[in-house]
Amino acid sequence: MLKLPLSRRVIVKALLLGSAAPWVITSRGFAATSCEDHIVRIASVAAPDTMNPFATWSSFWPLAFTYDFLVGVDAQRYSDRKGFAKEWSVADDNLTWTFKIWPGMKWSDGQPATARDAAFTYEYLRDSVGKPEELNVGWNNTSGLENVESIKALDDETLQIVTKIPTRWPLDNWTMIVPAHVWKNISYKDARGSFLNAPPLIGTGPMIVAEFQPGQFVRYSSNQYFRAGQPAAAGMIEQLFSSADSIAQGLKSGSLDYGAGLTAAQYADLSNDPDIAVGESPIEQRNFLAFNTSSEKGAGSTKALQDPAFRDAIGYAIDQMAIVKRALRGHAAPGVGLVMPVSTDFYSDLSDIRRHFDLAEAGRRLDAAGYRDNDGDGVREDKEGNSFQLELITGPTSGTIEMPIAAVQLIAGWLGQIGIPVSVTQLDSGALKARYADPTNGGGGWDLLVGSDWPSPAPRDLLNLGSSKVSGTRNRSYWSNEKFDKILAELDVTVDLKKSQQLVDRAARLIYAEAPYIILCYPFLLEARRKDCFDSWGTKDAVSQWGYFPLDRLRPHNG
């Protein structure tokens, strides 16, 4: 009995060692063997909720690997990335679109995937228009279908879409093509909500969702019927994390092959690792400073916000280069107009009308516009004689890269230097949305907003920031301008790229001069991948943000 304490200690030690064993085994030293199973391991900060593309906006990533778009963004930008359609053309009337579907394509269950499936998907959506269960709550939605005259599968390989007006919607819609033999039995009510589309899914993409655990992971198996041949990777696991810290750790330890949405600090840290390649991928996100230009309900604390001269003067007090260098450590392009540089078809640097950073000039312009500091307390007064005290609200927008708070510190600092004190309120994404909602829906009452959005590169979406039709949702500043709306209306019925470019340029110049927004920067998506397991990642973007590239062509390293 005397020996009992000793043996107890031994037992405790053994327990401790035993509990440490899983740690040791999963540590970096042993992780190298994980390449053997040829499974791609990626991670994202995301919260997909259902695998039903008609019922959710937040499951883009799992679904984009499994389903194809008819054309989509990547297919218009890169000749080697295609969607459901192999090629497409439009007739001279700009109304009749013909899409050639890949011959012999199959769904992942082996059934033929034809133009009829694509026609079914669009018809399925279109038939719901006007019904109480209209399918307008998810990624696959009815918007734009009101301009469509007919959708027909001429044969298995030819899809014809005839539109009522000239529109690029047939190319610029992000509807995921789903198999008719699964969805024909689903009622609209179920498609809108309760139908979970439980894995394994049936799609035409390279990676098919095989298992989905909300908040934990998505497991994919490679599609043996993929049109370009079964992908070399045996499958994929997507870890769902709530912060980028876990992604950075996973990449370092070797338990992840790819992760995106890193912070600048993590990027710098990972770039020192010889096994890891980091990249900054230009995306469509733009970060902006918006003014509350509403003059009625929900107006800001001063009428100056409604004065273009005031907003223009503020534009001279914002140093986009400093924001890029200081706050984003160079991982962004400095902001100019509504269009971001990655949208090469429409981007313009507006060099002839561009404002430059000059606090003295900002002060002169404020003086000239009648916003002087008359009582000498260092704070300017507006035309009603009240001292300025602007409330700036900021917060993350779900689905975009978070803006470092240092950018807000910079803006508040500059405005303070020209005699316009600013107080800052940080909100979460839901509360921010409620604040910038249209005043008729309870929003408004703020003065300045620092936010971000990530529109699609379709010209209409690029300009939505100034459209009075989406005031309080996409248009955060409540700004409305008849000329601008007219250009948008014209753009809606324009197919010709050259003419679209001219219209976008006119609109971008108009809104730049009126300055309801000061565009701060176009941030890059910071991503990192390990080199030891797979090759043939993308060069500009390691993994596309608009489709399943490069999972259709990843090859095991040395394999």
Partner: protein, 310 residues
């Protein structure tokens, strides 16, 4: 009205204080706590003399996330500001918030506790039910809910009593959510005190209720209030740090919690920037620990079981 307070002779009072200090300082924890506290109080009173004016993103000069070196003793943050500078300026904000919130909490707690204990009856019942509400409600959750609402109502502009409204709100919210513990203790002590003969004596000579409470009961409560006050400060620092960590603080005035929040959002943990997370974390820990140590030592010193009952 007769002045009925027992007047100590000056020498007697000095001896009493000396005795108290000797007993108090015989606790090792109290010594450590006092030294830390005095250090941080000095730091908080003259940040500009020690590290110069507060660095902002505009006048930051350093490189990004540089490890501690001769030039930057505690390294730099993700926008190149000196972490030492931020932590020292943060000390002022964190300590101000914690101390003022404690004052509010002690004033409210003592008032409620003493009133309810002294008067008893329905006053006691009602005040204690209100106290129970704040007692069972986790004060942090309550603060989390109240803070954005109050900020919404009051707005962030201007100055309230020399504070930015967002700081003022945090002070008030912490103060108003952490008084229930004090109220309970004060009430129980009041219940025992009001049965003592010196209270009867005061009543006989015609002192008003208010007079009795302030002149006779309150001085006897000071030990309990002081000991608990030190513990409340520690709690207030935690709550302030947590609220700011969750982004409810003022991003333009860095408290330790705001710094921790910025560090976490910048990914300092996974990028190996231990100094950025560590500096404000250790400061918050040290200060709240020293308050706890002092509070415990005060409690031991004043413990009625360890002193002769008068």
């Amino acid at each position: 009205m007769t002045e009925n307070i027992v007047q100590y002779s000056p020498r007697g009072r000095a001896r009493a204080i000396k005795g108290f200090l000797r007993q108090f300082l015989s606790h090792g924890g109290a010594q450590v706590g006092l030294v830390c506290l005095v250090f941080f109080l000095i730091v908080a009173t003259m940040p500009n003399m020690l590290v110069g004016p507060l660095q902002t993103a505009i006048n930051a000069t350093g490189d990004f996330l540089v490890p501690p070196s001769g030039q930057h003793l505690l390294g730099t943050d993700e926008v190149g500001r000196d972490v030492l500078n931020l932590v020292v300026h943060g000390a002022r904000i964190s300590l101000t918030i914690a101390l003022l919130a404690t004052v509010i909490s002690l004033v409210v707690g003592t008032t409620v506790g003493m009133t309810s204990g002294y008067f008893g009856g329905w006053v006691d019942t009602w005040l204690m039910r209100i106290t129970d509400f704040f007692f069972v409600m986790p004060s942090f959750v309550l603060a989390l809910v109240i803070t954005p609402v109050v900020l919404e109502v009051m707005g962030r502009g201007g100055d309230i009593l020399g504070f930015r409204p967002s700081l003022f709100v945090i002070i008030v919210v912490i103060g108003m959510t952490s008084w229930s513990f004090v109220a309970r203790i004060v009430r129980s002590q009041t219940l025992s005190l009001k049965e003592r003969t010196f209270i009867d004596r005061a009543r006989v000579v015609g002192s008003s209720n208010f007079g009795i409470m302030v002149r006779h009961i309150l001085p006897n409560l000071v030990p309990q209030i002081a000991a608990n006050g030190a513990l409340v400060v520690a709690g207030a620092i935690y709550i302030e740090t947590s609220l700011s960590f969750l982004g409810l603080g003022d991003p333009l005035q860095p408290s330790w919690g705001t710094l921790l929040s910025l560090a976490q959002r910048a990914g300092a943990a996974s990028a190996g920037a231990w100094w950025y997370l560590g500096a404000p974390g250790v400061c918050a820990l040290t200060v709240s620990l020293s308050f706890v140590l002092i509070g415990n030592a005060l409690d031991d010193t004043f413990n009625p079981r360890r002193r002769a009952i008068p």
